[in-house]
Structures are given as C-alpha cells and as structure tokens.
Symmetry: C2
Subunit: 837 residues, 2 copies
C-alpha cells in the first residue's frame, strides 16, 4: 500500500513535471496530493472502521478505585434518568394514541386511520431518523456489544450521534406500540453512555479516563447498568449481561457491575417515587401470589412441560427471525426495492401489525388495545381468569375487557394472542429501527404460561393438593415461569430467572422457574443459536463463535490444519525494498520478524505502522534533501542544476533551529504538494513543509529515482523500531479447542505458529472462525496419518516437532561427538514407537 | 535426588558386598532396598502431597454433555440426601440436648452438667475422630477448594476418608449447638462427593470420567451444589461459589452449576415435603413481610449505615479470628501443650461457650437456649418486638421467652447476644473440627440488623412515611439486610444478597440489601482480606493472592525484578552427568531445554520425570548386563570373573521371548534386591527381575563404576523424550500485574523469561506470591534507572531487549554489509530517545 502510494505519486510527479512546463497543472496536482494523503491515512489505520485490538495485555488493567466509583455513579445516574425519561415519553406517546383513538369513536374509519397512522408515522420517523443520523443505532445492540467486548473495535458504534439516534429512535419505536423491547437497545445506550462519559471525563480531567483498557471494563459494567435500569433488576442485569456478552469473566470486576446497576436501578425507581407514581420502591411488575403455598409439588411436571415447550418456542422464534431476514435478502427484487426505499419496509410492517391489532377489528380477539405493560400486568395477575372454562369472575382488572370477549373463550383469546404476537414480534424486530426482542418474547412467554396455568386451573378446580386444605392453582405463577423460560430460551441465558424475580418482586416460584428455565435452555441450545448469536451471524460481525458442545471433531483439528503457511515476514537482514514489498502484499496489522530466511527463528513482531515509519524515514524528505544537496555540490558548476543549487542554498539559510543530531525536522513555509510535485521530490505529507521558494529544477528526476533505488536496497535499520519480543505463539499440534480458548481468554487477533522456535505459520481470527463454523473443517482439513489421530491430545509433542528438535540435536551432536549414523527413517520410527506407547 | 539414590545404593552395595562375604547381611540389604525404592518413588512424584498442574491446556475441556447431566444429577441427589440426613441428625442431637436439659430441671447442677457435658463430648469426639481419620477435614474447606480450583492439587483433601471424617465430624460439631456453620464444610463435602463420584464412575464406565480436567470443571459445579443444597439457594449458591472460588470464570460452564444446584436444592426441599415437615416447597427461613410497602425511601440512610457498620464488623471478625490463631501459635508453651493434647483446646472452648450460654445462668440474657435455626427464625420475624422501648406484644413467637427477660430490655438482650456471639463465633471457628463461619456470622448480622430495626421502630413508632397512611417500620427487614451485609463483609461477596432472598423467600427488600451489601463490601475489602483468604494465609496454602485494588506500585514491578536468574537448564549437547546434576540441585517440575550454553535459545521444556527415565534408561539394568556380558566375554578366561560369566550365560538361556530391538525387557524369576545388591549391580527397582541364579561375583565393582562414569559422560539421547516445545514465556519488562493475570487465567505454575529467544530467567508461583505479598517488593527490588519508570507500561519493548536485538542484528549486518561504526553508547541513547518520545 505504501509502495502504491510511492509509485503513484512518482508517476504523477513525472507527469506533472511535464505538464508544469506547459503550465496550468496546478489544480490536478493538488487533487493528486489529497488522494495520496487519503491513501496514506487509510494505510495508517488499515481498517478504520473495525480493527482488532492485538495486544493481549490491553485487557488487564485495574484502575484507581475512587475514580471508578465516581464514574459508575455518574453512569448509573445518567442511565437512570435516560431510562425514566424515555419510559415517560413512551407512556405519553401511547397515551396520545389511546386518546386519539378514544376521541374518534364516533367514526370507525377515522378511528382506524388514527390507530394505524400514528404508529406508522412514529416508526417511519424512527427508521428515517436513525438511517440519517447513524445507521449503527439500528437493532438490539447486544450482538455489537458482545463483539466489542470480545476486543473488536466497532468504532462508529460508540459515538454521540449513535447515542442520539438510538435514544430518540427507540423512544419513537416503543411509543408506536409495536411489539418491540427496550432491553437490548438499552444495553447499547448504556455502553454509549459509558463511552461518551469516559471521553468527556478524559477531556475534563485526563489521566485515567483516557485509558482505553479501563474503558473496556467500564463497558462491561455499562451492559449490566443497561439491563439493570431497564427492568430495575440489578442482580439479574449483572448476570444477564455477563451471560450475554462475556466468554470469560474476571470475578474481580464483578463489583463494578453490581454497584453501577444497583445505583442505577435505585435512582430509576426513586424517580418514580419522587414523581408520585409510586408510594415507595417496589418491583416494576409487582405480583401478589400466596406466600405460604405458592405451588404444589405435583404441579412441577406441568412446569417442566411448560419449560420444554418454551425451549422449542424459543428456538422457533430465533429460526423465524433469521428466516425472515434471509428471505428478504435472497429475494433480489425485494431486496433492491427495499434498499432503495428504506422506509417502505418498516412502514408496511407497522401497517400490517397495527391493522391486525385494531381493537374493533381482529384486535378484539387478542387484547389488541393493551400496551405491552398493561398486558404483562394482566397476565401476571394472581387471580384465576376462568374456573369452569368460561370467564366468570372476570371484571376486577382494569384491563379485563381486553381479554374478556362476549363470544370468545379466554383460551381462544390467549391462543390468538400468542400466535399473532409470536410472528409479529419476529417480524417487527427485523425492522431497521432501534429495538430489542426481549420484552416481546417475555410477554409471549407470560401469555403461554398463563394459558397453561388456566388450563391447569380448569383441570384441577380445587387444586391438586391431597390433604384437606384447598389451594387453588395460581395461573399467574405459570405466567411468571413461562416468561422466564421463553426469554431464557431465546437468549440462551439462565439469569432471566433472576430478572423475573426482580421484576415481580416475588421469589416464591424459584424452583419451578429454575427448572423451566434450565429445561428451556437445554432444548433451545441444542436446536438453535441464541438470538444474539444469530444476529451476529446475520450481520457477519467479526465475532469468534462459541465452540458448540459435543463437537468432538474439533478435538481432532489442529492448528496446522487451519494455519496460513505463507507467512509474511521480515528478517534481520531485510532490505527496505523487501519491507516495502511485504507491506504491499499483506494486510495483517503486525509482521513477524525472523532471524533469517534460513533459520526462520521467530524473534518478535513489528507493527505495520512501525515499518511504515521506518520506510518514511529512509525515503524521507530530509534524506532526499541531503542527497540533492550533495548532488548539487558535486555538480555545482553545471548549468542545468544551478536552480537546484540555489534552491538548496536558500533552504539552508532558512534553517533557523539547529536540528538534533539524528532526527532532522526542517521547517519551511509553503504549500507542500505544489512544490514537492514540481520538484519531483516525493515529500511525505506527514512532514510539515512551508517552502516559499519556487525555483524550477530542470531535470533531477533520474538522480532521485536512482537514489531511491539505492536507498531501498539498503538493509533496514531496526534501531528506531518498537519490536514486540513476545508475540503469542502456538505449536502445530495445538488443538482447535485450545486455540479457541486462548484466543477468547486473551482476546488475541492472531498468533504465530512455531516449531522449535522456527516460524511455520500464522493463525488469525479469520482462520479460526472459518474452522469453527465448520464449512472448512469437514472437507478442507489436511488428512492426518491414521496413527496420529489416536494419539493422546494432552501430548503436546508431535512427531514433526520431535523430528525438528532431533535434527537440531543431531547437528549439535555431529559437531561434538561422532556416533554411528542412524538412518533417518529408523529415527522417526523410534519417535512414533515412543509416542504411541 | 536421583543421584542421591544412586550414590546411596552404591555405598550400601559396597558395604553389603563386604558383609555378604561374612554372611548374614540379607535382612539389612532388603531394608536398604526398600528405602531406596521409597526414595525413587518419592522422586517420581516430587511432592506427592501438593503438586501443581503445569500444563495450561489442562484447564480447557468440554466433555460429552449427556454424561455431564447424569453426573450432575447424581451429584445433586447424593448431596441433597447428605444435607437432609445431616440436618435431621443435627436436629435430633439438639433435641436430645434439650430433652436432657429439660428432664433435669429439678437440679440446677445436674442441669448444668448435662448442658455442658453434651456439647463437650460431641465436639471432643468430632475433633478426635477428624484428627484420627483425616486431619484434612478440619475447618471450612472453602480455602482449600479455592486453592484446588486454582490448579494446585491438594490430594489428601479429596479422599473417601476425608469425606467420612467431614460428614460425621460436621454432624457432631453442629449437633453440639456451638456457633458453627454448615455452609463452608458443605462446599468441601460436595467437592469430595464429586471427586469420589468421578472415581466411582471412572471405575465403572471408564472413558470420560477418567478425565482429570473434566473433574476440575465438575468440582466448580460441586461448590455451587454445596452452597445450593445447604441453604436451598441454587442461584445464590452458584454465584457465591463463583465469587469465593474463582478468579476467572468461563461462562460456558455456568449451566453446570445452575443445573446441579437447582436439582440438589429441589431434592433437598422435596425430601422435607415427603417427610411431612412442610406442605410444599418453600424457602428455608420464610418471611412474611408486607409486599406493597416493604420499606420507606427515608429508611434507606439507616440501611446504608447498617451496611457500613456491618463492613467494619466483618473486618473485625476476620481480624479477630486471625488474631486468635496467631496468638495460639506465638505462645510457645500453649502451642506445645495444645499440639500434644489436641483435644484439650476444643473441649475447653466448648466448655466456656456452653457455660456462658447456660439458660438459667448468663444464657438467659442472650437467648442462650435457642439453636441457631430458632434464633434466626425469631430474628427474621416480621413483627416488631418492642414499640415503646419495652417488650409489649411479645408472646406470639414460640421462642419469645428466650428474648423476653422480665428484668432486661430487649435491646440489652440483643446487644449481649451480638457481642457474646461475635467473639464466641470467632473463637469457635478456630477449633480443629469441620466447621464454617458463614451461618454464625449470618446470625450475628441478623441480630445486629434487628437491633437497628428495633431502634428505628422506637424512634419512629408510626413509620416515617409523610403521607396519611401509617406504615410501621419492619425490624425483620433490617435483620435480613444485616445478615446479608455482615456475611457479605466477612466473605467479600455480593451474592449473599441473593442467598438471603432465597433463604427468606422474599425479594422485596432488594434495594436496601444490595446497598448495604455493597457498602459493607467496600468497607471490609479496604480493611481486611476475606475470611477465606485470611485462612489461606494462616494455613500457608499455595494460593496466588489477588492483586489488591489501588496497589499502584505493582505496575512498576517488572518480571525482571522478581525472576530467578539462576535457571536450571539442559542443553542439546548436555551429558547425562549434567542432567543428573541438574536433577539433584533443582526442585522444579520441568526443566528448560536450551540450544547451547552460548546461545541460550529456549527450545522447550522437559518434565523432570522424562529426564529421570532417560537417566534410568542410560544406566538401566539391560545396558549394565550388556556391559557385564561384554566385559565377561573379554575376560572370560580369567578366574575371578568366571562366576559372572556363568551368571550371564544362565541369564541368556532364560531369555525366552525375543526382545524388541529398542526396549529390552528381560524377565527373571527371583527376588531383585538380594541378587542385585550381591552382584553390586544397581538394578533399578522398576524393572521386574526374577533371577534365581545366586552366583557370587567376586569383584566386578570397579568395572561397573568405571562404566557408569563413561555412561554419564555420554551426551543425552533426546529421542525418547517428550519435549513441550512451547512453554509459556514472558519478557523481562512484563509487569507484575500482567504476569499475575496470565498466571491466574491459564493456571500456570511457572513461566520462562526470555529475551529475543534467549532464556534469562524463570518465574514461578512462589516468586509471584512473594512479590504480591509485598514483603519483598518494597526493599528487594532491583532499582531501575529513573527514566525507565516513566515509560509507558503498554510499551512492551524494553531497552535491554532492543539492545539484544540490535546486537543480533549488528552481527548480521556485520556479515552482510560494512557500515561506519556507531559507538554502543550512542546506539543505546538513540533507543532511549525513541522510546521516550
């Protein structure tokens, strides 16, 4: 890349030199200059949008505790405020819709139009606003956070623009009453908030807030805050965020999440008290189940079946969601149309969904006029809706009319609600607005649980308890269990159990909930990836997939099967030309440094940028000027270089500060590109040049080119180069499983594969991902000798390594002691015999 | 060590050869043989009682899921049964004491004797039984499990004997009514159970159950089961066990703990239902607090103060506990006496404590006759004990008479209870019986919370709520908060919050509990280590301490400051003699293999046992026999070696199976030691020898010694040696903090320190521990040049490394291209300039 820049500029300079003599090439040169500058800037940050943190040390840092506390308090405070204000705004939006709908009850058509237009406008606005301001704000945000916490920097995802887009877009999207959730986006909002807060504090106080590594730790706390202040569930929030975003969790960072989430949840609920919404701090969806006899032991099978059914349901939801996205993508005509008219899809989806939920229409059979919050409150009610199969004592909840239909049984209403909401939620979450799927799924789960509970209540009207006392069945308990199980199945988490306890303020159903959640997880995990992993795959985010359980073939895949053997490296005796070539061909962020091409002993790794600056130094303007000056002095009497001489002399007079012995930085006063291009001198843009002199050099190009070739042939001077002397190394026989663990644990981007110190290959995140995703492994792996696969995987010494070692050893022995020669075949055989013992 | 064996046996063989000629040395020889065998066996497992798993790959293994489920179900089942039976037995013991005490109420003295004798007998039996069967069963077990899960194998801690000792000892100790807990030991019991179950299943089915690595994962699940089935708190159990035992936690192993703990808690509670103790599954210490208004917002400062006070109290408890142990140790006379009469101390402590709690005596002022369970139930009661400072409506709990004293205020009773129980618990947990401190601390916390709550109730008799409605203060809520906060402070965990919710079956006080627990943790962590870390220090377990927060000096300590520079290594051209010397001097489990003493390029590491077998092979019996045979053939006509010749010939005739070309294993039929000693041939005990021939060799020793010397001078044949080609490497400038993280993450035992491939030092757990514990670092560190400490810690290239690299590079350059020489000082200076920029 650097080379391309040099060459391009060289070619252009020649052309421009010719044109300048004709006059009027000035503008073109400027444009060329800027293109080159762009190229170079791009090169400096090879993938500006997504580069992977390489240094494995970056993960580990403890920062000063006092400053952490302040940061976490601020974060909790801000997020609680955001959450509360957003809830208020959402409630206001929904109230406005109800008011409009209620006010127009004289005319059904007007009512319908109001009911439909309102959400369509809101969702379209949300989609358009997000699209314009920051497309990164679309969707849940948990998959992105998972990727970011893995160590991959998705820079655009943590900007102020994204924050604004996410908060406003989410408020509108939720205000529309669509089956969308707040929780996923809130994890993203909290992370954004943490990132911005860090930047802000760094700007104010500097110091520790500038530390990138600390910020990663804070992000993980922020995720907990996001869930915590969304549901007022600090413990569940911490656990959920750990389960959803982490692979390995440092227990010493635990307290951060707990502290911030608790503080945030506290403020969130205190705001409600201060606003006189609540008398004191209680749960968000408070239930009032019996404490002394929450459930009977004989109900447990029903809970278990509910859990298993939720497991299947969860897997189906993830599958459906992915299917919709993939269908849309595959249908090229639809895809093209939608890409052009981005707002059509959300508007259409909203139109269909809101038409179906129109209360006087189909909505009457599925409690269409209720908001999510109202539905959930109703579903978690501790009273039984139907005792004898018909809705009898069913007029005490404020939302009763929604579920009680004069012609239709409560069961039908519930089933319709579940089925319709299921696909609606799956479709709605594919809209390009900020939205999560947790809450809709939670609601569907609660409805399903309520359905099972009501069925149980009908089957056992006096409860199942054998002894004298009658304990009627509590369908609300089933709703709680169903909600936890289905949301657990979709997200592949166990901590939804804790979230429901904190949401409902009751822990009496702990055992049924735990049993159902575990069973649901077991079923769902064996059928589908979690929703977040599914989105990671759909979005093709640079995340390392988890090793599935029971994938035994992974144990037989070795690093040597997946590594790239054609490693780009430089040696201690490399010339600058070789460095240039290596830089031009490869894309890796760091390059291996080996002793020599023969020995291939890995000495360390050098960052690409370091090599670029080495090259710049070698071909830089100061050395060019030196060369030109020397050249001019040599040919001072000749006519055609007189100009150049004059130029250089004038430069000398302008050199005001005495330059340091090694790093010469001259200051000139003018526009770089023009002069440099005119001179044919390839000034590097990073050096400030303010040359006013505009003397024409008649023809110095051949000399410069010659000089450049000379310079490129010189061996590299590694003196001014930072070398990482301990890049991470694997051996050829390291198993895929171990490699995956080490990459995950240390957040590696790539690792060198060595064999007794000799560099033989490199494995990067890409190869690993490919190997794990399986497409390569089945067909593409190198077939190993039959004996090798029977070998113990704990045995880290491989035949090839031993052979290598023995070669080295034989060489040594050959020098020190004569010995009867062993045929090499024999020697290898001996190794095999030993290793297979 | 090996060398010592060889030498010793050599000396003895000479002596014995002399004695044999006098006759009658047979018995002595046998005893020598066995001593040598012991030595060799010891050598094979260099520290049989505590060796550290070195291979970092061992940590990571996913096993087949189906087998995991079965294992976890079995584990949960067994532990639930154990827990339930133990609870039953403990309740029975306590009932027996009460019955005895009650039956003797005619005579105070008899009553006292019964009250005191019963616990003394039980505790003495528990201490004696544990001492005799397995001293490892003493104490909590959590510190040991923490160490084991860190990767250090404390073998004796997971045997069947320990299991029996722990279960019976614990039952007796708890049955005595002393302020001891069940939770810590239960973690140990569950781990024991998991280890034994693994062994049992491995014996039955083999396969996956034999896998050591899987067992570690199972141990971590077992810890969760231990807490889970002790308190019927699955979620809290999982979290508590993670916080207490792990440093880095693999989220993918999360489900194991949840599943096993849930199943175990379920069975534990189901047993109670089946036994008709309970109607259905509910919490262990069910509370009945108001749901709609659990606490007022204005009570939060009181909760916060309670949390902070508990923080100080927790720190004090840990300090007191350690102080008692250290006092006992320092007082040499006491120490000696106690070491001789091991049962005196527990008996004395029990006598004092039970005398003080004697109900008609001092016990009447501190609810002495109540068991822990009864006290806790009373403390968590939702009714207020005193409204106006005197106990008014105080006769509805069954245990009321214990707290209500005709002359004494409830406050005095509570304060006395807290103060007395505080020191009693601290003392009682130092007794050499299986016991934990969690439950006593929990109880003290509850009492302290109740005290604060009652005080609040007196101060605000009508509650603090400003609006019309009266919500009286619930002192039981304070008790819950206090219990969570104090136990959290002592153990440095946040998850005690979850445990109290699961224990009480109510989550309504979530915010006060979380706030108090976090504050208590913040205070306690800044004052004292956790109780478990304190015990780890007291017991000097091989655990890597945590890096304290805010220890900034740790960032400035580098590996080079703490590493051992005098590394034992072998080279590719080492002779056997050198290997022998290295084995004799060092104690490390693995030895570094370098290219040569000059280059010092690290090639890999070899396990000690591998080198030992190499040595055995070189000096082994087959090669000895070969030598003897050749020697005999050479001198066949001489008289004095005729016997030897005959011997060898007879051996030849007995060689029935043709030996393989490389590994010769001869079978003889006789007692090894006699013949080998008599022959002066140093047979290695590991080779089966059944020689019947008893021919005397007159004087072959000089030849053998000479031959041995020859053999030792030969270079080592590394063909049959497993070499780990990628031992973990650090560089000199790696910070202590990073080193600590890597050691913790990967469970390392030692790491080599290299500088551009050259071995310069080694860091083991020991050095790291020393450095972290700080005693060394303050005075013992190498002083760094002033400039160096200002350098960015993220900069992994150090001056020395760069210099090393440059030397190498200069050497290369010197070969390829001549260049004007730079003075070495100048070159270093340039590096510094660059690095400090």
């Amino acid at each position: 890349m650097y080379g391309r820049y040099t060459q391009e500029l060289g070619v252009y300079a020649k052309e421009e030199a010719a044109r300048l003599r004709d006059g009027g090439g000035l503008r073109r040169v400027t444009s060329v200059r800027s293109r080159s500058a762009e190229l170079l800037e791009y090169e400096k940050d090879p993938c500006a949008k997504c580069h992977v943190c390489t240094s494995r040390c970056q993960k580990f840092l403890i920062s000063r505790v006092g400053e952490d506390w302040i940061f976490l308090i601020l974060l909790g405070l801000v997020m609680a405020l955001v959450s509360w204000v957003m809830d208020y705004a959402i409630a206001f939006c929904q109230q406005a819709q109800k008011w409009m709908y209620g006010g127009l009850d004289s005319n059904m058509l007007l009512q319908y139009l109001a009911w439909v237009t309102y959400p369509v406008v809101l969702i379209t606005f949300s989609a358009g606003f997000t699209q314009i301001l920051s497309p990164q704000a679309v969707g849940s945000g948990i998959p992105e956070m998972k990727t970011i916490l893995r160590g991959v920097v998705l820079k655009e995802y943590l900007t102020f623009k994204t924050f604004v887009a996410k908060v406003i877009g989410l408020t509108c999207a939720l205000g529309s009453g669509m089956p969308l959730g707040k929780e996923g986006p809130f994890v993203h909002v909290a992370s954004l908030c943490a990132a911005l807060l860090s930047k802000f504090l760094a700007a104010l106080f500097g110091g520790i807030y500038k530390n990138e590594l600390r910020n990663t730790e804070m992000l993980s706390a922020a995720c907990a805050v996001g869930v915590g202040c969304c549901f007022a569930a600090p413990i569940g929030g911490v656990l959920f965020s750990i389960e959803v975003t982490s692979t390995f969790f440092a227990v010493r960072n635990y307290w951060r999440g707990f502290f911030a989430a608790t503080f945030s949840a506290f403020i969130f609920r205190v705001l409600a008290v201060w606003n006189q919404d609540e008398e004191t701090i209680t749960a968000l969806f408070k239930t009032r189940f019996r404490l002394d006899f929450p459930f009977d032991l004989q109900e447990l099978p029903a809970f278990a079946i509910l859990g298993i059914a939720c497991g299947f349901g969860g897997a189906l939801f993830v599958y459906l969601n992915r299917l919709i996205v993939e269908c849309m993508r595959k249908q090229k005509t639809i895809n093209k149309f939608l890409l052009r008219k981005r707002l059509v899809y959300p508007a259409m989806v909203t139109l269909i969904i809101s038409t179906l939920t129109f209360p006087p229409g189909f909505g009457q059979f599925m409690a269409g006029q209720l908001t999510q919050h109202e539905s959930l409150v109703a579903l978690l009610d501790n009273r039984t809706w139907c005792r004898q199969g018909v809705a009898e004592e069913f007029d005490y909840i404020s939302h009763s009319h929604a579920w009680k239909h004069p012609q239709v049984n409560v069961f039908i209403t519930l089933i319709l609600f579940i089925v319709m909401k299921f696909w609606m939620s799956a479709v709605a979450t594919t809209m390009p607005v900020p939205c999560g799927a947790f809450m809709p799924v939670f609601l569907i789960g609660a409805a399903f649980g309520r359905l099972v509970g009501e069925t149980m209540a009908v089957m056992f009207p006096d409860g199942i308890h054998a002894d004298g006392s009658v304990y009627p069945i509590v369908p609300g308990g089933y709703a709680v269990v169903g909600a936890a199980a289905l949301s657990g199945a979709v997200t592949h988490t166990v901590s939804t159990a804790v979230i429901v306890f904190e949401l409902t303020g009751q822990i009496s159903h702990i055992l049924p909930v735990m049993i159902a959640v575990i069973l649901a997880n077991a079923v769902a995990q064996s059928l589908q990836p979690s929703l977040y992993d599914s989105i990671i795959r759909i979005k093709k985010l640079p995340y390392l997939p988890e090793l599935g359980m029971g994938h035994h073939e992974k144990y037989n895949i070795r690093v040597e099967d997946i590594m790239v053997r054609d490693v780009r490296y430089i040696t201690l005796s490399s010339s600058y030309r070789e460095v240039q070539e290596v830089l031009m061909t490869g894309q890796l962020k760091t390059l291996a440094l080996v002793e020599s091409t023969d020995s291939m002993i890995l000495l360390g790794s050098i960052e690409r940028s370091q090599l670029q600056s080495l090259l710049s130094l070698q071909l830089g303007p100061t050395r060019r000027l030196d060369h030109l000056r020397r050249h001019a002095q040599d040919n001072g009497t000749h006519t055609h270089t007189l100009g150049a001489h004059a130029h250089l002399t004038s430069l000398d007079t302008m050199d005001s500060p005495p330059s340091p012995p090694c790093t010469h930085t001259h200051s000139y006063t003018s526009n770089t590109s023009n002069t440099s291009a005119r001179h044919g001198v390839r000034f590097l843009p990073c050096v400030r040049l303010k040359v006013t002199v505009t003397i024409e050099i008649l023809n110095p190009l051949p000399q410069i080119a010659e000089w450049e070739e000379q310079q490129l042939d010189e061996p590299v001077d590694f003196n001014n180069c930072k070398i990482d002397p301990a890049p991470f190394q694997l051996v050829e026989r390291t198993s895929l499983h171990k490699t995956h663990t080490i990459f995950s644990l240390l957040g590696l981007d790539h690792a060198y594969v060595t064999s007794t110190g000799r560099l033989v290959g490199v494995v990067s995140l890409r190869e690993l991902r490919k190997a794990i995703e399986g497409s390569v492994t089945v067909t593409g792996v190198k077939v190993r000798p039959p004996l090798a696969s029977f070998r113990d995987s704990g045995n880290t010494t491989s035949v090839s390594e031993v052979t290598e070692l023995h070669k080295l050893w034989n060489r040594h022995r050959g020098l020190s002691l004569p010995r009867e020669p062993t045929p090499p075949d024999m020697e290898d055989q001996l190794d095999l015999v030993f290793l297979c013992e």
